[in-house]
């Protein structure tokens, strides 16, 4: 995508959320007929740097040592305001508030230092029907500021639940549910009710569904839920223990982690005979109900 709206500064996430709430109210009032195409432009911000203090707080929240190299999960948070700017454009066909995070895939191609000056670009693609609504992918890329080297690319898949756009194909039948039998956990997380607020503070993602029971209820959730990227970042803090120069990861979210929660986790490492790390698979489920929360893979690439 070459056509891009270049923002002169990093957009404020809190303003974006306010705008999203306003446009949601407006569309309810006007009952304007939704468009079924994605905005053709990318959104771009140049000259972005990670905030060292936030990077440090982020790493400590995830339980990993704060380094000069920025965690992969933090880069998602850094690119997130640009990704959101894509979704609050007037011609974006889905309501931003209440969207559910289904999947993430990230290629982390080179280490990013907190001192690096960056270019961030994001756009939307693959608007598709889903059995319970409409899904869309937001691609976010982090480049060196001169645009010559791609350092990190994340593709997030979101679902607008209950939103059906005319003309979009839906999968014919829901995927058959396979009974989930939890394996023996290798770790357990005790997540308090403040988990969403703590992640919001280090990532800047103050989406109301993560902050409190009340704000989550306003958006149709029965309780507040943990950020998907909190889960992914916390897994990535220790998997792999020693990050190669480049690696990839993906995570699928099966059910929301309502707070407070006890999360059981299984991590399986794959190594060469010489002990060199190749990949790790992870799987998390509700320790009480044995319901699957999320699963994914991290691999050297």
């Amino acid at each position: 995508m070459t056509d891009a709206t270049v923002l002169t500064e990093m957009p404020s996430l809190s303003k974006l959320y306010v705008n999203a709430a306003a446009s949601a109210a407006k569309s309810r009032l006007l009952r304007s007929s939704p468009t079924v195409a994605l905005p053709p432009r990318a959104v771009e911000v140049r000259g972005v740097r990670a905030d060292l203090e936030k990077v440090t707080e982020f790493a400590h929240l995830m339980g990993e040592p704060a380094r000069d190299v920025v965690p992969s999960g933090y880069l998602h948070a850094l690119a997130f305001p640009v990704a959101m700017s894509v979704m609050v454009q007037d011609d974006f066909p889905l309501p931003l508030l209440g969207m559910i995070h289904l999947h993430n895939q990230v290629e982390h191609l080179a280490p990013v230092l907190f001192t690096d000056e960056l270019l961030i670009r994001a756009w939307a693609r693959d608007l598709e029907g889903h059995r319970s609504g409409t899904q869309v992918q937001i691609v976010a890329e982090i480049h060196t500021v001169d645009g010559t080297a791609l350092l990190w690319r994340g593709v997030s898949t979101y679902l607008a639940k209950g939103v059906y756009l005319p003309g979009l194909d839906k999968p014919t039948a829901p995927v058959a549910r396979v009974d989930f039998v939890p394996p023996t956990p290798t770790a357990q997380w005790q997540l308090g009710v403040d988990t969403g607020r703590a992640y919001a503070a280090v990532s800047g993602d103050f989406n109301p569904i993560h902050l409190s029971v009340l704000s989550a209820k306003a958006l149709g959730m029965r309780r507040s839920i943990a950020h998907g990227m909190y889960a992914a970042s916390r897994v990535l803090a220790a998997v792999p223990q020693h990050k190669p120069e480049s690696f990839s990861w993906e995570i699928s979210f099966d059910s929301p982690v309502f707070l407070p929660a006890t999360v059981s986790l299984e991590v399986i490492d794959h190594r060469t005979d010489d002990g060199v790390w190749l990949s790790s698979e992870f799987l998390a489920w509700n320790a009480r109900s044995a319901r699957k929360f999320f699963s994914g893979t991290v691999w050297a690439a």
Partner: protein
Amino acid sequence: MTTPTTPVNESATEKFSVKTKQTTPAATTSQRRGVRKAVIVGGNRIPFARSGGAYSHCSNQDMLTAALDGLVARFGLADEEIGEVAAGAVLKHSRDFNLTREAVLGSALAATTPAYDLQQACATGMEAVIGLSNKIKLGQIDSAIAGGVDSASDAPIAVSEGLRAILLDLNRAKTMGQKAKIISRIRPKDLSPDAPSTGEPRTGLSMGEHQALTTAQWKISREAQDELALASHKNLAAAYDRNFFDDLVTPFRGLSRDSNLRGDSTLEKLASLKPVFGKSLGDNATMTAGNSTPLTDGASAVLLASDEWAQARDLPILADVLDGEAAAVDFVHGKDGLLMAPAFAVPRLLARNGLTLDDIDYFEIHEAFAGTVLSTLAAWEDEEFGTTRLGLDGAFGSIDRSKLNVNGSSLAAGHPFAATGGRLVATLAKMLHERGQVDGRPARGLISVCAAGGQGVVAILEAR
């Protein structure tokens, strides 16, 4: 001088007789006991930062992990299982009970690398080097990393003793009535937190106040202290300028040099500072912020190995860890100064190895305060101290000041307590390796570090 000054080698040391109370020269040096050598491959540290500066939001674990990862990167140790890692911190959170092991798990080293924490105040890093070297010498391990870290910025703050007792009782209470009764015991004064201090528990005096007494006792002048401080800054700045630290220091958090370093300092500037310690001594107060070390954050690590382990990996061998010695003084009622233990440890260590001060080519005497270094040198030059306290025939001796802290020391670099030992060992090992041979024998260096509680740990390194 009571001992011969001829060059010493492993077999020649047999012939020496040293007229000290420890009259079995070299009876226990490693070579004679038939144990193998422990060598220093190299070291790595992050630049030291004045507290409240570049690392103010970093934890001990962050900094120790950074020091380890820099060492791993320098010597290609990713996924390598090291024999053992030992490190520690003086200011330590209780949650960091396994600080070193946790840092190893967060580092690029193999997760199967064992680790343990140790703590001997400012001598922590030295004790880690000596203890691990001994394990290598005995063949228990083939490789080791000795380290240390301290953060004065991220220091632990505990609840008051009163509140702590109440909270523990509350935890044990069974009924709501009991709980309410216990909570009613909380008084406003219980809510003030308990921060760590540099005060000695048995005297209530801070380390600086203790040293001020010792500095006055040995009649160390303000000028002499300021000159030593200036030399420290000039020497450290010069060492950075000729890239001496390029393979000893890895930049961290945007810092590439020690933030306390003032290469442009002058005697006039130092002379303008007001005394901060020993102010009760009136005109005799000589210790300022310029000739005392500041509170500092930082971490260091040293890679130790057997010859075979280093050679098999084609790694450099800078120096041997020849021997080490700890000493302690009875400072509580002022018999000796708090930081004077090295004045006793060094004569014992040299005697055991059949060496004298003249056989040492580089002295690394930790500059806790300029007064500490100068008081130690004064004691060694003092005839009465030599005869009555060291049991010698006269003064222990004097050192050639051109051999002292030639690449700067703690007054310039700063002093993150447990990290100083690793800085000294790696720096000296590299200096010795560069020097090579002196008079047909390997260059020799002595490290002396004083510590809280009236302790000191000293060691001899020999060039490879």
